[in-house]
């Protein structure tokens, strides 16, 4: 597999009240094309900052982020959904297509509404939906433009356990069928292992990559995977790295 993104010596400093805070400290790694990368680490370790740097929303202080094939748009999904409250479900999903003046908007939106099981809610507004449904709309909006890279910032962080598993299965299904490159940030170790092909374990602030772990769990993964021996072995490994990280 070819590299999709190459990150070299990435550093990001923030300034608050004239104090310099190092959010990311000299991170280098590559993401392979079509890979599902989980970035796991404690809260405030700079994993969201890393994602925002890759998306180009914030500028890094130093270092390089190279996109190997620079074509197509990216898709982003945030924890708080960030849906446009004045647009209904269909209009929210169509947003990116409208921005890009797509001719196939209607067809794509209808297909995604079916795929995300949002039928009957096309005209509903975000505030009328449950959080799980809002997140499905957010995912559909990101997928509508068929992005080659999907950046997800703790997207399932605020839903209940069962809804979370359903959303994870949905995402896995999408990844297996479309094979976009996904970078998925989470503080939930189970989630990182369950979804990811590759896990990057990050340290406390200033964020560094402590270890890269290949997850060789068979696919398709189901709820049974969550209780398998192999799963627990990886979980133990990740936990030990995070607990022993004392600086």
């Amino acid at each position: 597999m070819n590299n999709e993104i190459e990150i070299k010596e990435l550093t990001k400093d923030y300034f608050t009240n004239k104090k310099k805070i190092k959010a990311i400290d000299n991170i280098s790694f590559n993401v392979k094309s079509g890979d599902f990368v989980s970035v796991v680490g404690p809260s405030g370790c700079g994993k969201s900052t890393l994602l925002n740097c890759i998306a180009g929303f914030v500028k890094q202080s130093s270092g390089k982020i190279n996109f190997i094939k620079d074509n197509g748009s990216i898709g982003v999904v945030f924890q708080n959904r960030e849906l446009f409250p004045w647009l209904n479900v269909s209009e929210n999903i169509a947003f990116g297509l409208d921005v890009q003046n797509s001719a196939k908007t209607k067809k794509i939106v209808n297909r995604l509404i079916k795929k995300m099981d949002l039928g009957g809610f096309e005209e509903s507004y975000p505030f009328e939906l449950s959080i799980g449904m809002q997140q499905r709309v957010g995912l559909a909006r990101a997928l509508a433009t068929n992005p080659r890279l999907l950046l997800m910032d703790e997207p399932f962080g605020s839903v209940d356990y069962l809804t979370r598993i359903k959303l994870q299965e949905l995402l896995m299904h999408i990844w297996e069928s479309l094979k976009p490159t996904i970078i998925f940030v989470t503080h939930d170790i189970d989630e990182a292992i369950f979804l990811g092909e590759t896990i990057f374990v990050m340290s406390k602030r200033p964020g560094k990559i402590l270890k890269e772990i290949k997850v060789d769990l068979p696919r398709p993964r189901t709820t049974k995977t969550l209780t398998s021996k192999k799963f627990n072995q990886i979980k133990k490994e990740v936990l030990e790295i995070l607990v022993n990280n004392k600086f």
């Binding site: 925002n52 748009s73 990216i74 004045w86 990116g96 505030f127």
Partner: protein, 249 residues
């Protein structure tokens, strides 16, 4: 009729009765009785003067309103999006807020004459600041992630402005406009007291000079009516645009 309605009816009749009793001993030119007001209503509505007065005041109000609203929206969005508001430009603009509109009346007459334009400007001044400040506050609270989402699709600056920033700020523009309209309403009446030859404010002043308190009260009732209608209209527009406001987290 429920208890609440019964109560307000009793209060209304009680006040009317009190007014009636008080007016017995008062000078009818200074403190007219309710019955005299009733005939004053008939007098006003049997002539066309009140229509011309209303039109002339409302026209000033609406022209000045848009003259203030449009630059407030443009400047508010531009300054709100570029964080210039804490800079010297933003600060000096904000300090102008403390110039009371009525203090501008003599100046405007001197600069632009006694005609309509000076009145438009005074109204525009009154409407500008509530709208401008409402947009600024809303811009500060805006979640930048909404803009990020648009940028992730490759949206241009213009698309971000039209598809995200403007719809997001729309409700605050309307609520600012509502405050501005209320203020403009009181300002136009005061501005017409000097330097005008038509309008509700001008007529009030005229009635005072000929000791027709009854007619003055009728005109004040007209003002209440117009103010109420305009405010309700803007509230309706606001609710229509802001349907997503309260419930959305």
């Amino acid at each position: 009729m429920n208890n609440k309605n019964l109560f307000s009816c009793t209060v209304f009749i009680g006040l009317l009765l009190m007014w009636f009793l008080l007016s017995f001993n008062a000078n009818p030119y200074i403190f007219p009785s309710p019955s005299k007001i009733f005939f004053a209503f008939l007098e006003v509505f049997s002539q066309t003067t009140f229509i011309f007065d209303s039109l002339s005041s409302l026209l000033r109000l609406i022209a000045g309103f848009f003259l203030g609203l449009i630059p407030a929206v443009i400047l508010g969005i531009l300054i709100g999006q570029t964080s210039v508001d804490s800079s010297s430009v933003g600060k000096s603009l904000e300090s102008l807020r403390f110039v009371p509109p009525l203090a501008l009346v003599p100046l405007m007459i001197l600069w632009f004459g006694i005609g309509e334009f000076s009145k438009y400007l005074i109204i525009a001044w009154t409407v500008f600041f509530p709208v401008y400040i409402s947009i600024l506050l809303s811009s500060k609270n805006m979640d930048t992630k909404l803009i990020w989402v648009a940028k992730s699709f490759g949206a241009t600056k213009k698309q971000v402005l039209l598809k995200v920033v403007f719809p997001y700020l729309m409700p605050s523009i309307v609520s600012g406009a509502r405050v501005g309209m209320g203020l403009a309403f009181s300002v136009i009446i005061a501005a017409e007291l000097v330097g005008a030859f038509s309008g509700l404010g001008f007529r009030l002043w005229f009635f005072q000079s000929v000791f027709r308190v009854d007619l003055m009260l009728v005109y004040i009732a007209l003002l209440i009516f117009y103010g109420f209608v305009l405010d309700r209209f803007l509230k309706l527009v606001g609710n229509k645009l802001f349907f997503w406001g309260e419930k959305y987290e």
